[in-house]
């Protein structure tokens, strides 16, 4: 089954075409560009490019998988709305996967690992995975010092992801180089059970974790200075 994977939860804008079979998930074509300010420009051409490279028409897709974040909202929505609208037109299910799982799950190697991505405002989005790659805490958004404390409590022995690299000193954990951003094949693998079973698609609701910034009218300045 041919599956399109998109993730725009981090500065890396990712589109991939994967083949999901009984035996596993294999990558057929992959595009990833790191640019925190151009998700809207980059994603659609990348989707177009992976389909063209594999000589696949959109109607050949059996499902779409999208990273639900957490991630900076504006960029995150680009991936989710792309997946939702394409799924709507093609009449195929769209499945969401926590984007941090695409970092933490493939990085797991016997001991607990912390996955973190940059949340701006001096915070990180984070989750902790056990030795088998199962998420045991998070996703959450906190200051790196708070995350370091939680990681100690959970006996984490390594950290992975762009956010972990950015705040390596505060976290004080050995770093894994890869994956730095959500891995498309891993995201597809985490949805493979639903894909193979033909499970119904889901509303792709972002993992926002933060409330919108909004100034209530009651606290606004009067019209006159």
């Amino acid at each position: 089954m041919l599956v399109l994977v998109v993730d725009s939860s981090t500065p890396a804008v990712t589109a991939a075409l994967v083949e999901v079979s009984a035996g596993g998930v294999t990558s057929r074509a992959h595009r990833c560009r790191v640019d925190a300010r151009a998700h809207g420009e980059l994603l659609a051409p990348q989707v177009d490019a992976v389909l063209a490279e594999a000589d696949v028409r959109p109607r050949d897709l059996a499902a779409i998988v999208a990273g639900l974040g957490p991630g900076p909202f504006t960029g995150l929505r680009v991936g989710l709305v792309t997946a939702a609208t394409m799924g709507q037109v093609l009449g195929v299910p769209a499945y969401g996967v926590c984007s941090l799982d695409g970092i933490g799950h493939p990085a797991a190697a016997g001991e607990p690992v912390l996955a973190a991505s940059d949340a701006r405002r001096r915070e990180v989005y984070w989750a902790v995975y056990d030795g088998a790659g199962e998420r045991i805490s998070g996703p959450d958004v906190d200051a790196p010092a708070v995350v370091a404390e939680r990681a100690r409590e959970l006996a984490v022995t390594a950290a992975v992801g762009d956010g972990a690299h950015r705040y390596a000193e505060v976290l004080g954990l050995p770093l894994r180089a890869e994956p730095r951003y959500p891995d498309a094949t891993a995201l597809a693998a985490l949805a493979a059970g639903r894909i193979r079973a033909g499970a119904p698609g889901e509303a792709l609701t972002p993992l926002y974790l933060r409330r919108p910034d909004a100034v209530a009218a009651a606290t606004r300045k009067p019209v006159l200075p």
């Binding site: 659609a44 680009v78 037109v89 209530a216 606004r220």
Partner: protein
């Protein structure tokens, strides 16, 4: 006619998620989801709240539009989307959605200018627009006077507000008077019972000295402040505020300036058609005053019905249909959302 372009239009530049379907100049569907209630308690549109609402609303709104029009996305010739100007995060949801639809259905996508779409929507009501025409666009986000030489390829900005948009002034004055957000319909309603000549509020940028630099520009900030001072003086004196009279006098000042300048632009350029669009074009006094004054000069005023004046998907589809018919090339898939898209750019 079956050979006229069938175009989908997507609008998400502010707080309305709109999907319209148009064939040529015929409106087939105009589905709308609004997040206005979620913003009311903040007294204005909160960008992140609007963006979240667009993401939730886009798929169901598209479903409704296609059902209402009785067409499938496979039947359409193109997908048009507002690529600017507007709220950056809100625009991005619509642009990404349009690309998703275009990619999946293998259709061309047109990123279009929101303001040009406000002009184009009138073709759904009154047929092809004579060119050149003058357009007056007034809403909560914009107040502009344009010369429309060629709606498919370029419009010339003549003037714009130098401070508040006209709709913004309505919202702020409504708040002063204790009326709910958005203020336009409430001011309009109160004004019906008031005396428009009760209070002489200022008409911004209409003095002879303003003619050289600001002949076609607007300013509503001084008017808003004058209303605030007037109301607060009453309150300080412990006197009741005559809400209907204030609303009517304020509305009269706004409509007076808008129509005087729009008709001045028509006469100075020898143009016989004035199109009025944007949310404030739904104001009953503006419509009546524009028609009354234009008639004296033999100028025809075209104002679409109120539902088409406010932001909607049909206006974007109408412009898209016009672009397809004019043979304009579609946008590329890396089309950006541009919150400050200049008026001179009709399609990207």
């Amino acid at each position: 006619m079956a050979d006229e372009p069938l175009v989908l239009g997507i609008e998400t530049s502010c707080d309305e998620t709109g999907v319209g379907v148009v064939r040529g100049h015929t409106l087939l569907a105009d589905a709308l989801a609004s997040s206005v209630d979620q913003h009311a308690r903040f007294g204005g549109v909160v960008p992140e709240v609007a963006s979240r609402a667009h993401l939730e609303a886009i798929v169901p709104t598209m479903d409704r539009a296609l059902r209402e029009a009785g067409v499938s996305i496979a039947d359409v010739d193109a997908i048009a989307v507002t690529s600017g100007p507007g709220l950056a995060g809100a625009l991005l949801v619509g642009v990404a959605a349009a690309k998703g639809y275009a990619l999946a259905a293998e259709k061309p996508v047109y990123g279009v200018n929101h303001l040009a779409a406000h002009v184009a929507v009138d073709t759904l009501e009154h047929g092809p627009l004579p060119e050149p025409a003058i357009a007056l666009l007034v809403s909560g986000g914009h107040s502009s006077l344009l010369l429309v030489d060629d709606l498919a390829r370029g419009v010339t900005p003549l003037g714009a507000t130098i401070d508040d948009a006209a709709g913004e002034a309505f919202d702020k004055v409504a708040r002063l008077l204790g009326l709910p957000f958005p203020g336009g319909p409430h001011i309009d309603g109160q004004a019906r019972a008031g005396d428009p000549a009760a209070i002489a509020f200022p008409r911004g940028l209409t003095a002879p000295k303003d003619q050289a630099a600001h002949r076609y520009d607007f300013s509503f900030s001084g008017l808003k402040t004058a209303v605030a001072r007037w109301v607060e003086a009453r309150q300080r004196a412990g006197e009741p505020v005559p809400v209907a009279d204030v609303a009517a006098s304020f509305q009269e000042a706004v409509c007076d300036v808008l129509t005087v300048k729009a008709l001045d632009a028509c006469r100075a350029n020898g143009i016989g058609t004035l199109v009025v669009g944007g949310g404030v074009a739904a104001n009953s006094r503006l419509r009546a005053m524009a028609e009354h004054r234009a008639a004296k000069h033999g100028i025809r005023v075209r104002v679409p019905r109120p539902k088409l004046c406010t932001d909607n998907g049909a206006m974007v589809a109408a412009l898209g249909s016009h672009l397809v018919a004019a043979g304009v090339a579609p946008s590329r898939l890396d089309l950006p959302a541009d919150s400050a898209l200049p008026l001179t750019t009709v399609s990207v």
